[in-house]
């Protein structure tokens, strides 16, 4: 056990776990609390990553490794992450404006699913936006220059930093769950008509859930690009969304502790843990293919055997208002005439 070798490895696993946690909580707010089927959740993570990266990088210069991207403001660390979060939130706002006004679940699912493919295509082929399929790289790591950290010691700084951000996200997610806002979201999830009859504007609450969830995704994306220093379309293919859905459903939707369990069990074990499984050199696609098949089977299996997840949603217990007992005398049927 050499600490110099295992230290960074464990730190990397830990960083991914923190990022997946934030991602799963964000999806939990949208899907678990408010019941919005956002089947392109990963796109918002990518949006956060791209905006964080592009605002942190300096303006692109023509030269040996010519990369093209918009923004390029060389902003310092916390502002880039905030910009990423705002970028993801803004995209969510647009999506919400189009879809949440009156679309049924299946239409909403079709639009989000399609949007993911479209944006993936556009980002990949329209190079001036975020450098196409090559993506962004060389993104400055947060405060690495200030504290003069080298790549070997950097994870030890990044972990506490992202833990603080994760803690903030945890508090926000739980605060929303317990607040009237979260209660209304869950009421709308259970029955839109009843919630509307009680005067709740379902559009407003659903768009808030969508935006907050996508801001979480944006923060997770921003942390990803700052930790890895690079990001390209291979990091946000359409199936990735369902890894997060699997985490959310396995753990137990609308339960943030469950989401932590899911974020630990699903992505970390299946993806990051299996990184070191030897792949037969003649079939490099096999491992990736099997991983997604496992995720697909997991989604179907959990919905069949335990749709409420490992840690089910905690239903709020309210004291019951005692209804007035019926005072009418009970009429006994005559035994015989």
């Amino acid at each position: 056990m050499d600490l110099a070798v295992f230290g960074p490895y464990i730190a990397t696993i830990l960083a991914y776990f923190i990022i997946f946690n934030i991602l799963t909580w964000g999806l939990n707010i949208q899907f678990g609390y408010a019941g919005i089927p956002n089947f392109t959740y990963i796109t918002f993570m990518a949006m956060g990553a791209y905006v964080t990266g592009a605002t942190g990088l300096p303006r692109p210069t023509a030269g040996f490794q010519y990369v093209q991207y918009i923004l390029g403001y060389s902003w310092p660390f916390p502002i880039t992450l905030l910009a990423g979060a705002v970028g993801a939130g803004a995209l969510a706002f647009l999506l919400g404006l189009i879809t949440l006004r009156r679309l049924r679940t299946d239409y909403l699912a079709i639009v989000t699913f399609s949007l993911g493919f479209i944006l993936y295509d556009v980002v990949g082929t329209f190079v001036p936006l975020f450098n196409g399929f090559d993506g962004l790289f060389g993104v400055p790591q947060p405060l690495a220059d200030v504290f003069q950290l080298d790549p070997n010691t950097y994870p030890y700084f990044f972990i506490p930093l992202s833990l603080v951000i994760m803690l903030i996200c945890w508090l926000v997610a739980n605060r929303i769950f317990d607040s009237p806002l979260g209660r209304t979201m869950r009421a709308i999830r259970e029955d839109v008509e009843v919630a509307e009859a009680l005067g709740k504007d379902s559009f407003r609450f659903r768009i808030i859930a969508l935006i907050v969830g996508c801001v979480f995704a944006g923060v997770a994306g921003g942390l990803t690009i700052e930790f890895v220093t690079a990001f390209n379309p291979s990091g946000w293919t359409a199936p990735e969304t369902f890894v997060i859905f699997a985490a959310c459903l396995v753990g137990g939707k609308a339960n943030n502790r469950g989401a932590v369990l899911g974020a630990f069990l699903v992505p970390v074990i299946f993806f990051e843990g299996s990184r070191f499984i030897p792949v037969p050199p003649d079939h490099p696609l096999l491992l990736a293919g099997i991983r997604y098949m496992v995720i697909g089977t997991l989604l179907i299996g959990v919905l069949w055997f335990r749709p409420e997840g490992l840690l089910p949603e905690k239903k709020k217990a309210f004291f019951e208002i005692a209804l007035k007992k019926p005072t009418l005398p009970v009429v006994q049927a005559p035994d015989a005439l």
Binding site: I110, S114, I118, L286, L303, W304
Partner: protein
């Protein structure tokens, strides 16, 4: 410019034929079972790659390979319904769970295709690819055959829906499956028949789409799926005749826009149409009463 627009109109007709085949299948299944199946992208790919193996590896004639592949996909669709989808549908879970089940199925099937056939470009070996001039248009014989096959199949679907007991039962279930069940319709059998028909239409359109693309990757079905969804929603989901019109509009719009803007964005045009449609007329060109 005008000449290339006219040519693009011709290509649009072919795309519309493929779209109509797949779209009618999708919309029939949605009408009868009342949930969207997101696994169609994988069905399309599976069908095309199966036909490719029969055509290129085994050496069968292209259209024989297509017929076998179509039949296999139709049977697969029924089996998947019996084993996976129908048991879930019986539980009457919220719609979103049903959608996630089909997405799980999509993950499994699309990766089966990827693992079995690899990620390289494939193309069919078909004779007679020399374009012939017909009026102002330019078609290859196989493209003409695509249009003919589509027309024959769609007329067949029309006759099935209007002239047969099964078609009437399907329309009845599409309107109200509960009412259909109490009127003595064997709903399980109708659902099976619908999946068979939809599987056949999807299987066929997967093969002809791959032929029309000239070379195809395992992911081509996913990229085409939202174009199909655009056509389906444009026509009013659950409405086969509306879908045919929707397919014509989307097919012509995507191909003709490729002349005016960069052709790599042509499927984005389909998505733009979908968004505009959802904003302006969310129930489709021909709104159906029940859905």
């Amino acid at each position: 410019m005008l000449h290339s627009l006219v040519l693009a109109f011709g290509f649009g007709l072919i795309t519309a034929s493929v779209l109509a085949l797949a779209g009618v299948g999708v919309t029939l299944q949605f009408g009868v079972t009342n949930y969207v199946n997101f696994a169609y992208g994988a069905y399309l790919a599976l069908s095309a790659f199966l036909a490719w193996t029969l055509n290129v590896v085994v050496g069968l004639d292209f259209w024989v390979a297509v017929a076998i592949s179509t039949l296999v996909i139709a049977v697969c669709a029924v089996v998947v319904n019996r084993v996976l989808l129908q048991p879930f549908a019986r539980r009457k879970l919220p719609t979103v769970y049903m959608l996630i089940v089909t997405l799980g199925l999509w993950l499994i099937l699309s990766n089966v295709v990827l693992v079995l056939w690899g990620a390289s470009q494939r193309h069919f070996s078909v004779a007679g690819q020399h374009p012939v001039e017909i009026g102002p248009f330019l078609f290859t014989p196989s493209q003409l055959l695509i249009i003919a096959v589509a027309v024959v199949c769609l007329v067949g679907v029309h006759l099935l829906l209007t002239q047969t007991k099964l078609g009437k039962a399907m329309r009845a279930m599409s309107d109200d499956s509960g009412l259909a069940a109490v009127s003595g319709i064997d709903t399980d059998r109708v659902v099976d028949a619908t999946w068979f028909l939809t599987g056949a239409l999807i299987g066929l359109s997967g093969c002809v789409l791959a032929l029309n693309l000239s070379s195809f990757l395992p992911t081509f079905g996913d990229d085409f799926l939202f174009v199909i969804f655009s056509a389906v929603i444009l026509g009013g989901i659950g409405h086969p005749y509306g879908t045919m019109i929707g397919a014509l509009i989307v097919g012509l719009a995507t191909e003709m826009s490729a002349v005016l803007i960069q052709s790599s964005y042509k499927s984005d045009v389909a998505f733009a149409l979908l968004i505009i449609m959802l904003l302006v007329r969310p129930r489709g060109l021909i709104p159906s009463r029940a859905k």
